[in-house]
Symmetry: C2
Subunit: 220 residues, 2 copies
């Protein structure tokens, strides 16, 4: 399987046995989420924002208002670091020290550029929308020219990436297995609940397939 | 209610009507989570990591191995930016443009310092552990001297903060309410599932109160 190269930037130093550079695993973790945290440097200081994203091959798309401070800063071609984290459970060990979490996380590095043409902007917005909810793009009204004009779409190629994955039981010191302490995992429910119609929805409109499928698939 | 001062750093520019600087709201969002993303600048470039945290008043605690690259960088007293984001639902509008999310998010700014004494380190670890799972600290074995020695505990005072909150239905263009498009919210389930015992757990140990309470409270 294809791997990201380990560099000084993306090499996982701590918990290296939980790390992977495998592209398929990185992509799977990205595709399982829809909100990332992006960090960038402005005036020498770190900033971080949560935002929606989508992946097309090795390209990540994000978007925002043309007036957004973040978008303005990032589209100048500065380096960005992006993280996607899925918390799957709390790992409760017999000692405070060995408490941990089950998770899947990815950290990416790249340099953003602004998408210019209407066609490319629409493609970026399609990728983001479909990543949030598969099938939704074809159900709703596509962006107007005015909407495209006030939306910045940014993309960056993944230059470096690493993933970390933890699953399973706590790992305690051997002598601690005799303690009278319950140990195990408190799983976190990463599912959708039943779709709630807009209060202003017309009575004759049934819930869309995208929402029904996402709800059902996540509760299988 | 006490507010964080709006500065150039923490002032929310986009979606300002969703923003709040109210300390109680900032604290509530922080206390509802256990994993944050922290960003910092190293060699002029942005880095971001997910990590556990805890809050004690206006002080945030994080921890890591003394060997961690992040910990080594951050404990030098460099500025950090921290985000906590709870995604509560996908907001499905009639137009692609007005798709949104219901969420609660906080962005904080501060400068980290290392906690030195055993007493203060234990306090920081207590705060982090209790934020992850209330009541857990008293159920498990506290850190040994050896464990304290290989753990760095960092703290920072919240110098600036802002929160953003979105709830409720999509907001569409008035002419779009006539479209044959389902609109509404796909809620995200932020709950715990039933605790799973460690496979190596002794048969005579019942599940701890902390895990049972968190599971039950989150499913009320």
């Amino acid at each position: 399987m294809e791997q990201y190269e380990k560099t000084a930037k993306n090499k996982v130093v701590r918990g290296a046995k939980r790390a992977t550079y495998d592209k398929e695993q990185v992509f799977n973790i990205l595709d399982a989420g829809c909100i990332c945290h992006i960090s960038f440097v402005m005036n020498g200081e770190p900033f971080i924002i949560p935002t929606a994203y989508g992946r097309d091959g090795e390209t990540i798309y994000v978007h925002g208002s043309v007036k957004s401070r973040t978008i303005k800063a990032v589209k100048e071609g500065i380096p960005v670091c992006m993280a996607v984290t899925h918390l799957d459970g709390l790992v409760l060990a017999r000692s405070a020290f060995h408490h941990s979490a089950n998770y899947r996380s990815v950290v990416l590095f790249g340099t953003a550029e602004e998408v210019e043409s209407n066609e490319d902007k629409n493609h970026g917005l399609f990728v983001i929308t479909e990543n949030i909810l598969k099938g939704r793009w074809d159900e709703c009204r596509v962006p107007s020219q005015k909407e495209l004009d006030i939306t910045s779409v940014l993309k960056f190629k993944i230059d470096a990436a690493s993933a970390k994955i933890r699953t399973g039981d706590p790992v305690d010191e051997s002598e601690d297995y005799n303690l009278n302490v319950w140990a195990g995992v408190l799983p976190i429910n990463n599912r959708y609940d039943e779709p709630i119609p807009d209060q202003k929805l017309r009575d004759d409109i049934v819930v869309s397939d995208s929402a029904i499928l996402a709800w059902q698939n996540s509760n299988e």
